[in-house]
Subunit: 148 residues, 2 copies
DNA sequence: TCTTGACTTAAAGTCCACTTTAACATATAT
DNA sequence: ATATATGTTAAAGTGGACTTTAAGTCAAGA
């Protein structure tokens, strides 16, 4: 059983953020003792899920939607299932994109290493198709988070 | 050689966004023909890198810093190398976190599948430690993007 | 010629996710 | 007893990344 400050510290967020989350309805059912928030195991379980949803940039509104569905009970199971599936696919796509970015940065790492060795960037620029790691040439089209 | 609208379409962003990027200095050296922006191969190369930097949520200011260093020439090679390394490590950490989130969502997928089969959530809740995929129990502490 | 569409700039507006402030209550330590 | 720390709420403020608006230029087609 923890009070807000301890929870905030554990999560690496501010107390204001936790209060804001509660206000927005994405941190529901927090019990009060003498008007003071007390977080229990259930709350921590949800915080772990919330953490994931925030990590993938789900808007607060969307998270709220999910909670509202959950509050309605078994009748919304399928809807929640689809929402979760959708987000799962989104994460997968996201990881793929980040892996591409990682390659780009690994190329840059090699680029600068080589340039530093040579003392000048010009040396690397004149090596055509010189990258050991970079093969991607197209720019992926941006898909906005709010679309999902 | 493309004009702004075509470029915007290719990238999946608005023309306003591209103009805004140029204004903020993260889309430098775009040539004009009769006052109209014309994007060349060099610009596309940079757009691919920019795309990666945006993908990992590098703030515009930080991207600008990188560009400013690049503009200064060979004297900033080491600094740029370190910036890139830092970002590379950040992406790696990010991918690791997303993989954890993926697990969480895969667990939820299983959870809802099972609940739907049973017709009620209660059935799943009463299976203790029932998850086939979820082992993580702690909530990762949030590290804010601006710290890097 | 005139309208349509694509371009330009500068400035103001919007949205989201917090963050800060102010005013107050309660609890613990010296 | 009194200072310090932590908690509370409601409301206003902030920062970042665009987005929209307004006013204008220019080129091609009917």
């Amino acid at each position: 059983m923890y009070k807000i400050k301890e929870v905030a510290k554990m999560l690496g967020v501010s107390t204001a953020t936790l209060r804001y989350y509660e206000q927005e309805g994405i941190l529901p059912n927090i019990k009060r003792v003498n008007g003071i928030r007390v977080f229990n195991d259930e709350d921590f379980k949800w915080l772990r899920v919330l953490n994931c949803m925030k990590k993938i940039n789900m808007p607060i509104k969307k998270i709220k939607e999910y909670i509202d569905l959950a509050m309605m009970g078994d009748s919304t199971l399928k809807e929640r299932y689809h929402l979760i599936l959708e987000q799962k696919e989104f994460i997968k796509a996201e990881i793929a994109k980040l892996n591409n970015c990682l390659k780009e940065f690994e190329y840059k790492e090699w680029y600068y290493k080589t340039a530093i060795k040579a003392g000048t960037e010009a040396a690397v620029k004149n090596m055509p198709k010189s990258s050991p790691t970079l093969e991607i040439d197209e720019i992926p089209v941006k898909i906005k988070r709010k679309d999902l």
